[in-house]
């Protein structure tokens, strides 16, 4: 519910900006880079593509002599962000350490900022690494390089091609595309078992990530080249283990389409859904407020979902939206059917179903969490009461009870007959003593 509120709040707040921005939130994007490792000229095409998508880029060069080590990307109380997105290129300086700490990065992320973190074998700085570790992404530390001795296209064995169809998440990049990506001078990461991780690209099975001391970090497809994370507040973070991946040469030749999709996903320009309202009511359309539910009532649950795509909200097409009626455990788990479009959203409904024959406080909820897609949740808790004493069938409506009813009325009838017969046949007794005692009183 809170989540839902947050999303709607976010949406309402940003309604004015939506027509301008391509994302569900504004696109003021901070780019942190280190000119000793990354030259912006080498990435100009990538950055240009962002600007073409209405990103307002703000650059922060950590090795510049004017660089303020106290640069701010969080508000003073740390409860809100000064930027909407952040792109971190590989950095190695420690000058930014007082402000660019892992906990501040995490704060930025938790406040709803989307992060694209790029590391390279020479640029894995501690704050970024520790931040990633908190999201259960464990990139190889400095000095580890991913090589593929079988399929690499260069002498150092660290540039190799990956099929676009290897993409692990269709919401990020459609695996049916026939694009061929080139990954170069990069590193790989181990992933933890968090449910919120969105793995995107695995390292080739013939690859090996090791340092000069021959210590391995990942072997074969154990490692990941690109991985993302979406937290419960729906902020997104994508980690890429190579900055060369974005460089002009490879961008133009191979990676453009993939990077476009990847950054769109990261900055919530696509694969975003929201709940536009959920309601439940009796099968005859009376609402809970008018008539509270009781056991075995027939009810309907409906939810409206829409998806943000190409700069506008459209009805969400999904086939796996499930409804749950639960009291600690689910009593029902129903896959909802898509019905007609209502404005910009799609109506999903459970159809008429019968409430369990069990009173209690039940939660009507849709908890739709798919890796790669915004998590949506809609909950409402309502009591299902027991039958009132007048709501049970009357005795004469139960055929089995008619035997007893007959016997009761037979006894009553016969008793009356007996009394009448007894009185009629008994002799008259004159009760003299009673009369006498009355006199005395």
């Amino acid at each position: 519910m809170l989540l839902y509120n947050l999303i709607t709040l976010l949406c309402v707040c940003l309604m004015n900006d939506v027509c301008k921005a391509l994302s569900v939130h504004p696109l003021k994007t901070l780019v942190v880079f280190d000119s000793r490792l990354t030259s912006l000229q080498d990435h100009s095409e990538f950055l240009q593509s962002l600007e073409n998508r209405d990103h307002e880029l703000v650059f922060e060069q950590v090795d510049h002599e004017d660089f303020d080590p106290q640069f701010y990307f969080l508000s003073e109380d740390e409860h809100s962000n000064l930027y909407d997105n952040m792109i971190i290129f590989p950095i190695k300086t420690k000058r930014g350490s007082s402000s660019l700490t892992s906990s501040k990065l995490l704060k930025f992320y938790e406040n709803g900022g989307d992060v694209l973190a790029i590391t390279s074998p020479v640029g894995v700085t501690d704050p970024v690494r520790l931040f990633l570790n908190q999201l259960s992404i464990y990139p190889a530390p400095k000095g580890y390089i991913l090589r593929d001795y079988f399929n690499a296209s260069d002498e150092k064995k660290n540039t190799f091609a990956i099929a676009g169809s290897d993409s692990l998440n269709d919401y990020v990049f459609n695996s049916s595309s026939d694009a061929e990506l080139v990954y170069s001078k990069g590193s790989s990461a181990l992933l933890g078992s968090s449910d919120l991780l969105v793995p995107i690209l695995k390292a080739p099975s013939t690859s090996l990530n090791k340092n000069v001391n021959d210590e391995e970090w990942t072997i074969g497809s154990q490692g990941y080249l690109i991985a993302a994370f979406q937290n419960l507040k729906n902020a997104r973070m994508t980690w890429v283990g190579s900055d060369k991946f974005f460089a002009n040469g490879l961008y133009e030749s191979n990676n453009k389409a993939f990077i476009e999709e990847l950054t769109k996903w990261t900055f919530r320009e696509k694969s975003v859904i929201k709940v536009n309202g959920a309601k439940h009511y009796h099968a005859d359309k009376t609402s809970y407020e008018e008539l509270p539910y009781k056991t075995t009532d027939e009810v309907v649950y409906e939810i409206l979902l829409s998806e943000f795509k190409d700069n506008k909200w459209i009805p969400y097409e999904g086939t796996d939206v499930q409804f749950e009626l639960k009291m600690i455990d689910p009593y029902y788990r129903l896959t909802m059917n898509a019905e007609e479009n209502v404005g910009e959203s799609k109506k999903f409904t459970t159809g008429v179903f019968k409430l369990p024959d069990h009173h209690g406080v039940f939660t009507f909820q849709v908890d739709y969490k798919r890796p790669g897609l915004t998590y949506v949740e809609s909950k409402s808790t309502h009591a299902i009461r027991n039958l009132a004493h007048t709501e049970y069938p009357r005795s004469w409506e139960i055929t089995n009870a008619r035997v007893y009813l007959c016997s009761i009325f037979a006894v009553i009838g016969l008793w009356l007959v007996f009394v009448v017969a007894f009185i009629a046949t008994s002799k008259k007794v004159v009760n003299k003593p009673t009369a006498a005692s009355k006199k005395n009183n």
């Binding site: 809170l2 420690k94 350490s97 007082s98 700490t101 892992s102 906990s103 501040k104 995490l106 992320y109 938790e110 501690d126 704050p127 690494r129 520790l130 570790n133 908190q134 999201l135 259960s136 464990y138 530390p141 692990l168 181990l190 992933l191 933890g192 078992s193 968090s194 449910d195 919120l196 991780l197 793995p199 970090w217 994370f229 937290n231 419960l232 507040k233 902020a235 009291m327 600690i328 009173h359 209690g360 406080v361 039940f362 939660t363 890796p371 808790t381 009591a383 009461r385 027991n386 009132a388 004493h389």
Partner: protein, 733 residues
């Protein structure tokens, strides 16, 4: 002459009325200590539920009340409250409120009706006791008045009926005495009318208190003893059959009772005696028709058949589950250790503990030794109705010894028996007029003087006892039974001499009421469920109704588990706040740490493989809370919540002093809370409320979050030079 008699009659009637008014005045005023000393407030625990139910009744009407499904308790199960309560108390006070407001035009708050309900009904109890004693003992008015006076101020009864103690017992004792009065009348006269009245009073009693089972058993017992004594007559037959049929049928109209009267073994005695009476009646009839020898043969065979039929019947029905097995509460009446071993939830209630002997004296003072005298006097006469009092005394004396709360049912009969004994004493010794005027036996000067002085000494001694009794009762009432337990007295006074109150409970409940969401769920040990519902108006998981042992065990398990486990349990149940009562700072011994072992025992009963009571003791079997406490104890949620930040309260020494358990609490062994955060602590730390944290947005456990935060604040978040390969679980995707 006629005028003189009628004048005397008038005077005696006026005197009677005046005495009644005095007794009612004494009964009512003795119960008002708590209102004067504190305020007009509902006491303790159960009354808060009754109060809440009454408010619901007044607001929604009887029909809705009867079908009330309460979704604010026992979350998420809810409680079919209308079908699981005894509605007599609420309907009565609702009716009183209705009459006062709508017919008499007295706009009085329902709370005041509820607070003053028990004192008002204690006056009625006194009147009913007067008639009961009179009916039982030769129309002896002195005994009647004495018993009325005793019951009016006996602490044993006051303990459950002070102003604000708005509990079922408040009305039940009144109804108990009324039912018994009608029953004595019915069995003495054999009148169907009195029998019907007894049945109706019994119905009212059934609607008011679960203790009605006592009547259901004592009346058949009375009949049974009379039958064994060979005192069968038609009066008994018609009185009992009328009472049983009407009483049972009407009692089944109470939803909570339902079909119990024909299924539960508690009610089988009444049914059995009903059947037995029919056989006696038939036997009586046959005896008058056939010869003596034939009758003896008939008697022997029929008795044998009956016994066989009866035994096999009961065993068979129990075996096939048609009648309920003997309930746990029933077993605990016979074996005081039964509950402790098998049903900790029953044993954990303090009023289910065996009575300590001094409390008999404490609750009834000199009546306790007059009581056997009264029973003896009745035994020496042994009329039919005397048997009732004797059976009642014997049965109740035993039960009161087993369970503290049954002291309440014993008190009326103590008062009655003692009044009979005292009335006999006064009959013999207080009448000195004849001796003084010399019209009595002609005795010589010295002997007469001796006789008169004996009488005076005995009488004045007993008058002295009576004076002491009043003194004792007032003292006990004022000191022991007049605390609302919601508000406490600190024993200190302000500068102006007014007492200092400890009002932490209401402070905390008010905080909950005004600072949390309306649908917030609060987990607390069941003792506080009714109060949270009544005062804070928040949804609770468990309360004093204790109908679902498993649900209570869930809360107990969470309290006894390490934080992580507890967090899972609470999240599963949508809990927002956890409330604990901690008396360590104040020296309030009834706190949750002292109740903690019951939580452990109750949850161990359900999850024996997860919770082990011995783990909460030190290696040498002590229950400690200081440094020596076991690790399981220190890691349990209850311990952490109670002592969270407690040592730092004592300045720099980092060593707190728990005044209840007299233990030194050091900050080194009070571990950090990660999954819960302190939301509120009352002035004297009596009530502490913790908020259950939301899930971490990144899906980490709060332990990991707190480790991360500690590390990053210690190192500035950046320096961890050596990077080791993490040990990670295999991914499923």
């Amino acid at each position: 002459m006629v005028d003189k008699i009628s004048l005397l009659k008038t005077v005696s009637t006026v005197l009677k009325v005046v005495i009644f008014i005095c007794i009612i005045g004494a009964a009512t005023s003795a119960r008002l200590f708590s209102v004067i000393r504190f305020e007009s407030i509902i006491h303790e625990f159960d009354p808060w539920f009754n109060f809440r139910a009454t408010k619901y009744l007044v607001a929604n009407g009887f029909h809705k009340f009867l079908n009330w499904f309460d979704d604010r308790t026992w979350y998420p199960l809810g409680r079919v409250t209308g079908g699981t309560l005894y509605p007599g108390l609420m309907t009565t006070s609702g009716l009183v409120w209705h009459i006062l407001n709508n017919y008499l035009g007295l706009p009085i708050d329902i709370r005041n009706v509820c607070v003053l309900f028990a004192p008002a009904f204690s006056g009625l109890t006194a009147i009913a006791t007067y008639y009961f004693t009179k009916a039982c003992y030769h129309n002896d008015e002195i005994a009647g008045f004495l018993s009325a006076g005793f019951i009016a101020i006996a602490p044993g009864y006051i303990s459950r009926s002070v102003a604000g103690s708005y509990d079922n017992e408040a009305i039940a004792i009144t109804l108990l005495m009324i039912t018994f009065f009608f029953w004595i009348k019915a069995m003495k006269t054999g009148s169907i009318a009195w029998g019907t009245f007894a049945a109706l009073a019994y119905f009212y009693m059934v609607s008011a208190w679960g203790g009605y089972v006592f009547i259901t058993n004592i009346i058949p017992l009375h009949i049974f003893i009379l039958l064994l004594m060979g005192r069968y007559n038609h009066k008994l037959y018609s009185a009992y059959c009328t009472w049983y049929c009407i009483g049972t049928l009407s009692s089944m109209q109470i939803p909570f009772v339902g079909f119990l009267p024909i299924r539960s073994n508690d009610h089988m005695a009444a049914l059995g005696v009903f059947g037995l009476l029919q056989f006696f009646m038939i036997g009586d009839y046959i005896k008058s028709k056939i010869s003596n020898d034939n009758f003896k043969v008939f008697l022997k065979t029929s008795v044998l058949l009956l016994i066989l039929f009866g035994v096999f019947g009961v065993v068979g029905l129990t075996y096939f589950g048609l009648i309920a097995p003997w309930t746990g509460r029933f077993y605990s009446l016979w074996d005081t250790d039964y509950a402790k071993i098998h049903i900790p939830i029953i044993a954990s209630v303090s009023e289910h503990q065996p009575t300590a002997w001094p409390s008999f004296f404490f609750d009834t003072q000199f009546l306790i030794w007059l009581f056997p005298c009264g029973v003896f006097i009745l035994f020496s006469e042994l009329q039919d109705e005397h048997v009732f009092i004797i059976a009642y005394s014997v049965l109740c004396s035993y039960f009161a010894g087993v369970m503290v709360r049954l002291m309440l049912t014993l008190t009326p009969i103590i008062c009655v028996s003692a009044a009979i004994a005292l009335s006999n004493v006064f009959h013999g010794y207080l009448r000195v007029r004849n001796d003084l005027s010399g019209q009595g036996m002609k005795l010589k000067g010295f002997a007469n003087f001796f006789k008169i002085s004996t009488k005076l000494i005995v009488s004045s001694t007993f008058l002295g006892y009576l004076y002491l009794f009043v003194h004792h009762c007032t003292w006990v009432t004022s000191n022991a039974y007049s605390s609302p337990s919601v508000v406490l007295l600190s024993g200190q006074t302000n500068e102006d001499g007014s007492p200092v109150y400890i009002d932490d409970f209401r402070e905390a409940y008010a905080w909950l009421r005004f600072n949390t969401k309306e649908d917030a769920k609060v987990a607390a040990w069941w003792d506080y469920g009714y109060q949270i519902g009544g005062m804070a108006d928040r949804t609770t998981l468990v309360d004093n109704n204790t109908w679902n042992n498993t649900h209570i065990a869930i809360v107990g398990k969470a309290m006894a588990s390490p934080e992580k486990k507890a967090y899972e349990i609470y999240k599963q149940h949508d809990v927002d706040y956890v409330l604990v009562v901690f008396g360590g700072l104040l020296g309030y011994s009834g706190d949750d740490i002292n109740k903690f072992l019951w939580m452990v025992r109750i949850s161990e009963g359900i999850w024996p493989e997860e919770i082990h009571e011995p783990n909460y003791f030190t290696a040498d079997g002590q229950y400690r809370v200081d440094e020596a406490a076991s690790e399981t104890m220190k890691n349990s949620l209850m311990y952490k919540m109670c002592y969270h930040d407690f040592p730092s309260l004592f300045g720099n020494s980092q060593e707190g002093n728990d005044r209840v358990r007299n233990a030194k609490i050091k900050s080194s062994h009070v571990y950090d809370l990660d999954y819960f955060e302190e939301a509120f602590t009352s002035e004297n730390w009596l009530v502490r409320i913790y908020k259950v944290k939301d899930l971490d947005p990144e899906g980490r456990s709060w332990k990991e979050v707190s480790d991360f935060e500690k590390e990053s604040s210690a190192t500035g978040g950046n320096s961890r030079r050596v990077v080791k390969k993490p040990k990670i679980e295999p991914r499923l995707l």
